[in-house]
């Protein structure tokens, strides 16, 4: 890799560190403000003040905020995400077990949204007055107004409960089961993400279509697939990639709802569970992982855009 590009990547990676630190600090501070005492939750309703205090001490919750933050960073620097307050299980094990579900879900969601959004965007941009384009536009409006949990329930009722073709929920035990169990959640999350992607893609394409170089290319007799591939898609791709990165982040949060709806044991469901149980070490770790994932996706998107766009200067 040329030195300029290396410097670019290194610079972007360095920028990530303070962002993550700030993210962690915010999480720790928010935890202090959250009502509900994790020590009380763990000690149980019968526990007296002394027992609750002992649990609080064991959890390190009697330390100052700065102390808790520092302890957490120290452990983190050794690759230790800590243990769940509720179960005592190492968080790395929890993440290891649940991350696969979320990754499958996100990959499936991205695939569905891309497969549906690209043709829709092309139709709406290239044949804006056609019946197909109008149908697409109307459909997107309807889909945009359907809450994902409702879409999920409807899909499960119609495509799984009535037909028995697909499981209504859960993750299954083997690869075949898991692939089948991912169809409806992927469709749900993909449908939720698709309208924005399709509309933005269509807008981006329309912008490129109006550009001088397209007019020139057309005047030179270029049309159809060659025009689309060489001039239209190539120039419309960088904004689409950026949007896709933004969508991936949105999908990550959408996964929280979809995992709950389909009873999928993913990171999103674990996050909700941990937050409701005041299991702060898990919340901290998952926030860090979600944050890192979002930053990582955006970083990759930036690099991809830079590579795709010949006007990029590697600074």
């Amino acid at each position: 890799m040329p030195a300029g590009r290396l410097r670019f990547v290194a610079g972007r990676l360095l920028q990530v560190v303070p962002v993550l630190l700030a993210l962690l600090l915010i999480v720790v501070l928010l935890q202090q403000l959250m009502p509900g005492d994790p020590a009380r939750v763990i000690a149980g309703p019968r526990a007296g003040a002394e027992q609750v205090a002992r649990v609080r001490h064991d959890l390190g919750l009697d330390q100052s905020t700065a102390g808790q933050f520092w302890t957490y960073l120290t452990h983190l620097s050794h690759g230790d995400l800590g243990r769940s307050n509720r179960t005592g299980i190492p968080i790395s094990a929890i993440v290891g077990e649940r991350a696969a579900v979320t990754v499958w879900l996100l990959a499936g969601g991205l695939l569905v949204s891309t497969l549906l959004a690209v043709p829709a965007a092309l139709v709406m941009a290239l044949r804006p007055r056609s019946v197909a384009a109008r149908l697409c536009a109307r459909s997107l409006t309807i889909i945009l107004n359907c809450p994902p949990f409702w879409v999920g329930l409807m899909l499960a009722s119609v495509l799984a409960l009535r037909t028995g073709w697909l499981p209504v929920g859960g993750f299954g035990e083997d690869t075949g089961d898991r692939l089948r169990s991912m169809v409806l959640p992927s469709l749900t999350i993909g449908l939720a993400a698709m309208p924005l992607l399709a509309r933005s893609g269509a807008a981006s394409l329309r912008q490129v279509l109006a550009a001088d170089h397209i007019t020139t290319a057309r005047s030179l007799g270029l049309s159809g697939w060659p025009l689309l591939r060489r001039h239209l898609l190539r120039n419309a791709l960088p904004p689409a990639v950026t949007l896709l990165a933004v969508q991936a982040a949105a999908l990550l949060f959408g996964a929280v709802i979809v995992e709950q709806t389909f009873g999928l044991p993913g990171l999103g469901a674990e996050m909700v569970n941990a937050a409701s149980q005041r299991d702060f070490p898990v919340v901290q770790a998952l926030t860090l992982i979600f944050g890192t994932a979002i930053i990582g996706i955006n970083l990759l998107a930036d690099l991809a855009v830079a590579l795709l766009d010949p006007r990029t200067t590697w600074r």
Binding site: P35, G36, D37, P38, R40, V41, I42, A43, G44, P45, R46, A47, G48, Q51, V52, R54, S84, R86, T87, G88, I89, E97, L153, A156, S157, A160, L161, G164, P167, V168, G169, G170, Q260, T261, F262, G263, P265, E270, N273, S276, Q277, R278
Partner: protein, 505 residues
């Protein structure tokens, strides 16, 4: 503890359903060996450490893996042999001598002796949370490998019954050489099942323990508990037969379960009520508490909140367990009387009274809205606050509330277990002195006859009725959805069932 604080995490009502009252699945034929079942539950167990038991699921599940000396009978009314084949009380009833079954082994093949049982008794006694319920036990002796002697400071008949609760489990001495945390991460017991896999918050898979003392049981080869919090997802899985049963179906969804697949515990040994903070105004005024009690029209409340799937509370302690006698008095209702009581209280009209409820279920919020409407009709300016469960529990524990809606229930065949919770929580967080209840429990603990037991409970019931540390409103039903595949399910009033008696059609 012996009781569980549910804080309205469950249930609501299906309109128009008359309670069937059956708490057992329709069993046709003789139990069949083999097969597997999947049961859905909304909340996971609290872990395998018995002292951490809070949720009903924990009391239900622990003895399936780590059986105790005695176990509750399938009808929940008495106790029967567990790992101990017999027991004997001495003349003064201050010593219980248990004889363990011959040839007992833990599921890993190690022999189970009275030394293990004695170690387990110490473990229960020293429990930070539940230890007080074993307070009568002073010492143990193990004259031979099959004999365990439990010595008590008083003739506690309660202790023997309490030992059938799901947290009095037998574990290997010194945790088999492990530390407590590691042992309870992968527990070994002598129950009918072994843990094949446990993914907290997600799934528990139990398989038949081939070394279980009864070669005929359990009937199932495999029992899977899937934790599914979302009621809609629960229903979809049940309807698609991805699951064979649901423990405690939210009563809102009862209408979706065919009548022949409903197993109803009517009523359960649970009290649904309004907890009052009597440590501050206006709850510290008995007239105000009476006004609250009078304002709750229990018939209307039960219809609105439970769709009729509950019984009006006839006492402050759970029904249908050993010692349940009710208060022999009436929790009256009447708007005019409520207004009169309110007028006599220190409550100033217009002053906001916080009613905190669990925000996470439609049932609890509906209960809150119904209670608020009834209280407002009596002239109490209710500020209904819907809170997350953990915030609610925290505020109750800290006394930062005026009124709150909640539920407590028995987890053993004796009403005595709930006394522990009431005393430990200062009358369910009321802040009132609990001396009468403590004294009543001391009497109940040593009661030898039903009459003595009833007299002791009646003292507590009368005190609760007269002083209203909390306002009992209903004894709710519990509904299990059970597919025709599930046989042998007998749900006790305290909502446990012996899983080793389940079989698959």
């Amino acid at each position: 503890m012996g009781c569980v604080l549910l804080v309205m995490a469950l249930l609501a009502a299906a309109c128009g359903n008359e309670p069937a009252g059956n708490s057992a699945s329709r069993d046709a034929g003789t139990p069949k060996r083999g097969g597997s079942l999947t049961i859905l539950r909304a909340a996971d167990i609290d872990g395998w450490d018995p002292d951490k038991a809070i949720q009903l699921a924990t009391f239900q599940t622990l003895p399936q893996v780590m059986e105790g000396l005695v176990r509750y009978a399938p009808d929940g009314k008495s106790i029967e042999p567990g790992l101990a084949e017999s027991w004997k009380l001495d003349a003064k009833a201050k010593t219980i001598t248990f004889t363990l079954r011959p040839g007992l082994t833990f599921s890993d093949g190690r022999p189970l002796t009275s030394q293990d049982a004695a170690f387990s008794v110490e473990l229960w006694r020293k429990g930070l949370s539940l230890g007080t319920l074993y307070a009568a036990i002073t010492a143990t002796a193990t004259p031979d490998p099959r004999t365990l002697v439990i010595k008590m400071s008083k003739a506690s008949t309660f202790t023997l019954t309490w030992l059938s609760n799901g947290s009095s489990v037998i574990v290997p001495k010194d945790f088999g050489g492990m530390n407590r945390k590691d042992f309870f991460a992968k527990p070994i017991g002598a129950g009918p099942f072994v843990v094949t896999s446990y993914r907290p918050g997600r799934q528990l898979v139990l398989e038949r323990n081939p070394r279980y003392h009864d070669p005929a049981r359990p009937y199932l080869d495999r029992l899977t508990y899937d934790v599914v919090a979302d009621p809609n997802q629960q229903m979809l899985r049940y309807q698609s037969r991805q699951a064979d049963a649901i423990e405690a179906v939210p009563l809102d969804l009862a209408a979706q379960i065919p009548r022949e697949e409903q197993v109803i515990v009517h009523p359960s040994a649970t009290i649904h009520g309004i907890f009052v903070n009597a440590a501050r105004q206006p709850g510290n005024d008995l007239h105000f508490r009476r006004a609250v009690s009078l304002a709750i029209d229990r018939a209307r409340y039960i219809q609105a909140v439970f769709g009729g799937l509950a019984a009006p509370a006839t006492g402050g302690l759970p029904p249908r367990v050993q010692g349940s006698v009710g208060c022999g008095c009436t929790y009256e209702t009447g708007l005019d009387k409520a207004k009169r009581e309110l007028a006599q209280s220190s409550y100033r009209p217009g002053t906001k009274v916080e009613l905190v409820v669990d925000a996470t279920t439609p049932f609890s919020t509906r209960a809150g809205e119904t209670a608020a409407a009834l209280l407002r009709a009596a002239g109490i300016e209710v500020d209904l606050q819907k809170l997350e469960v953990q915030v609610l529990v925290d505020r109750q524990a800290k006394g930062a509330y005026d009124l709150s809606l909640g539920e407590v229930g028995s987890v053993s065949p004796t009403v005595g277990d709930i006394f522990g919770l009431i005393v430990a929580t200062g009358g369910l967080y009321s802040g009132l002195p609990m001396k009468t209840i403590s004294d009543a429990f001391a009497r109940l603990e040593v009661a030898r006859t039903d009459q003595e037991r009833a007299e002791a409970v009646r003292v507590a019931e009368t005190w609760i009725h007269d002083n209203l540390p909390y306002i009992p409103t209903a004894f709710p039903d519990r509904l299990f959805a059970v597919s025709p595949k599930v046989k042998g399910l007998n749900v006790t009033p305290f909502l446990s069932y012996p899983a080793d008696l389940l079989w698959a059609a």
